[in-house]
């Protein structure tokens, strides 16, 4: 469906006419600069930043340890169904975790509002900002924001030092061509709109838990 766009040409013409006026002179010599301190030890940095972001970063060695950790986190949550990204590795981990909860898989549609937790993979973990990079392929859009607790099952091999690396990889892997959405998530949902006092769990998750498999 093509939409009618009566002002498009007129706006472009105005822009082009304006840009006929040459820009002011600008010293655009390039200097070697380092905007951010390079990340030395990505896993240490990731853990530090997660803490600062009020996220929980749990290390587990191997898949069965990850499953155990996941089981412990799930036990700490109120009764109710969970929503899980439908992916073979996660199916194995959910099996191994042995939860008795009702599991809704992402292949069955969007998460329900009543979900107690969502469990997904991430495309990357970012050390510099303690972030998880997720896209629509990680169980969809709601999977990281609808439930009060979002659990990310990650691997240490997914850890990248900084945002720039994560974004460059996203371009190479055509992540925004293959997904309609992506998000760099750096903590649980929060607000400071009342007297600048930080409150967690504004609209999205109150808890964001990242389980990092240090063997994978």
């Amino acid at each position: 469906m093509a939409i009618s766009n009566p002002s498009r040409e007129q706006i472009l013409e105005r822009i082009r006419a304006g840009l006929q006026v040459p820009a002011l002179e600008y010293d655009d010599r390039k200097f070697e600069v380092q905007i951010f301190e390079p990340v030395e030890n990505p896993l240490d940095r990731f853990q530090q930043e997660c803490k600062a972001n009020l996220m929980e970063c749990l290390l587990a060695e191997g898949q069965s340890a990850s499953a155990q950790t996941l089981a412990q986190v799930l036990q700490s949550l109120p009764q109710g169904e969970i929503y899980v990204q439908d992916e073979p590795g996660l199916r194995r981990i959910i099996d191994a975790a042995g939860t008795k909860r009702v599991v809704r898989w992402s292949s069955e549609g969007a998460p329900k509002e009543s979900s107690q937790a969502t469990v997904t993979l991430a495309d990357a973990l970012i050390a510099q900002t303690g972030s998880v990079f997720v896209s629509a392929s990680c169980g969809g859009r709601g999977a990281s924001v609808v439930a009060p607790c979002h659990i990310v099952v990650g691997q240490v091999s997914q850890l990248v030092p900084d945002l720039e690396t994560a974004l460059r990889n996203a371009i190479v892997e055509q992540r925004l061509e293959n997904n309609s959405y992506a998000c760099v998530i750096s903590g649980s949902s929060r607000t400071a709109d009342i007297e600048k006092i930080l409150v967690q769990g504004a609209h999205g998750p109150i808890r964001l838990v990242v389980i990092v498999d240090t063997a994978a």
Partner: protein, 475 residues
């Protein structure tokens, strides 16, 4: 003087003397200042970050047509729609018609200053569509039926008690201890209903990315995420100046925006939306529309000096540091964009009616020193003064005043006489207790403040005396 200017002076005088307001702003700004400084210290080279951001925006604005077309092509390839709106009416009409034709009854909105600029909410409500502001601060000011007080923290001017009363009156639930945690939980419950009922979500965009055909939306609360995930239609509306060339530019822009906005290393949800839900995806809107708004922006391009005003990323840092904003508050500006950037931009977007805002500055340059894209804000205020003064031509009273001033400056005796008369006159006046009344020529200062202590001698006398003493000391 325009009626807007008179209103501005009245409101500024009232607000700056409102002690409750002063205390709220002081607390908020102190907390921001500390977070902002902490945030900046996380950068190895903050100045280099500002310069990089400036270069990114400079590249984008100086090739605006090219990058907008690249963005449009990509969005269409992803299955989205792009509408170009020359002004607010066109943008509102497009979104309203879209909502009506799709049978939309409820809309959830995440924060967008552009929708404030074009008054989108009222345009939709005219058609009987319920519009929910979902950013907590926006929700609060929507309930109060007032415009945002600040472009980043819309309800900064309210304390928890005021918010408690507002929620009690409008949402029917009382939180007796006004605990922010409980107030937030109440708003969360109410807005959840809206999120799951809405057929359309409207968001702004912090950046639109040419090489990826994506819009970038930064939110902490997650309301931007829910607004763009749950409803079946997503409309993103943004100014044409928000375009950036490359996805990787966000590696600098995201942290710099977050640090300048709130002091955070990065905003909690830095979201990228590149189109409607793809086959195989679990959820997401079926339709994705981007509205690109001009509304006077392209007019700034032809002015090489002012062009960089379009670099602004709306972080709010210049508002927070501005001594004028900190005293008169956001509502006094009576504009969509407040503070120094609003004072620079509004006369261009809304005409000479808002020219007085060019003078709402001490030209101290604090705004320029914090701007994350290095906009020379206080110089632009000066440029605006100059341009409007030329355009207005000189008035008879102005000419007379300058003639008198010139006479006095060329004649030291006359100047001294003026000073003497002023000192004497004011002493008599203040002695009669007339300070701050209509008879007081320094009324603008003294009606709300202790009068300035009057010197017993002229400056010239003091100066001469100082020289004599200095010479005596030398001997």
């Amino acid at each position: 003087m325009s009626s807007a200017a008179k209103q501005f002076l009245r409101d500024a005088a009232t607000k700056s003397a409102d002690l409750v307001h002063r205390e709220i702003i002081r607390k908020n700004m102190e907390s921001y200042d500390a977070a902002h400084l902490r945030g900046r210290s996380r950068f190895k080279d903050w100045e280099a970050a500002r310069r990089r951001c400036q270069e990114i925006k400079r590249e984008a604005i100086n090739h605006l047509d090219r990058y907008l077309l690249q963005f449009e092509e990509k969005v269409i390839a992803h299955g989205g729609h792009v509408f170009w709106a020359a002004n607010g009416d066109e943008a509102c009409a497009y979104i309203r018609d879209l909502a009506v034709s799709r049978g939309v009854r409820t809309i959830v909105k995440s924060k967008s200053m552009v929708t404030e600029e074009i008054h989108l909410g009222p345009a939709l409500e005219e058609k009987g569509i319920k519009v929910w502001e979902t950013d907590l601060g926006e929700f609060i000011v929507q309930l109060r039926n007032e415009p945002p007080y600040h472009i980043v923290t819309p309800a900064m001017h309210l304390n928890r008690q005021q918010i408690r009363e507002l929620f009690r009156d409008h949402l029917g639930e009382d939180i007796p201890d006004a605990d922010p945690q409980k107030l937030v939980a109440l708003a969360r419950r109410k807005l959840r209903e809206a999120f799951f009922a809405a057929e359309m979500g409207i968001s702004g965009a912090n950046f639109i990315i040419a090489d990826s055909g994506a819009v970038a939306i930064s939110t902490n609360e997650g309301n931007g995420r829910l607004s763009t995930s749950l409803p079946r239609i997503h409309v993103a509306i943004t100014g044409i100046e928000k375009v950036i060339p490359r996805l990787v530019d966000l590696a600098t822009l995201w942290p710099t925006l977050a640090t300048s906005g709130t002091g955070q290393p990065i905003t909690t949800y830095s979201t990228l939306v590149s189109g409607p839900r793809k086959p195989g995806e679990a959820d997401g809107p079926e339709e994705f529309h981007v509205v690109l708004l001009d509304n006077g922006r392209s007019g700034l391009l032809g002015n090489a000096e002012e062009r960089e005003v379009l670099h602004c990323i709306r972080c709010g840092a210049c508002l927070n540091i501005c001594p004028v904003y900190r005293n008169i508050g956001g509502h006094t500006y009576n504009t969509t964009y407040q503070g120094p950037i609003g004072s620079v931009l509004t006369p261009h977007l809304r005409g000479s009616e808002f020219q007085h805002l060019s003078y709402a500055s001490s030209l101290c340059g604090a705004c320029t020193s914090v701007c994350p894209v290095n906009i020379n804000l206080h110089h632009h205020l000066l440029h605006n003064r100059r341009d409007f003064a030329y355009a207005a031509g000189d008035s008879a009273s102005g000419r007379t005043q300058f003639k008198l001033w010139r006479r006095a400056m060329l004649n030291p005796r006359l100047y001294a006489l003026g000073g003497w008369m002023m000192r004497r006159g004011l002493r008599v006046l203040y002695g009669l207790g007339l300070a701050g009344t209509a008879a007081d020529p320094l009324r603008a200062w003294s009606r709300k403040r202790t009068p300035i202590p009057l010197p017993s001698q002229s400056f010239r006398k003091m100066w001469k005396k100082g020289l004599v003493q200095k010479n005596a000391a030398k001997k």
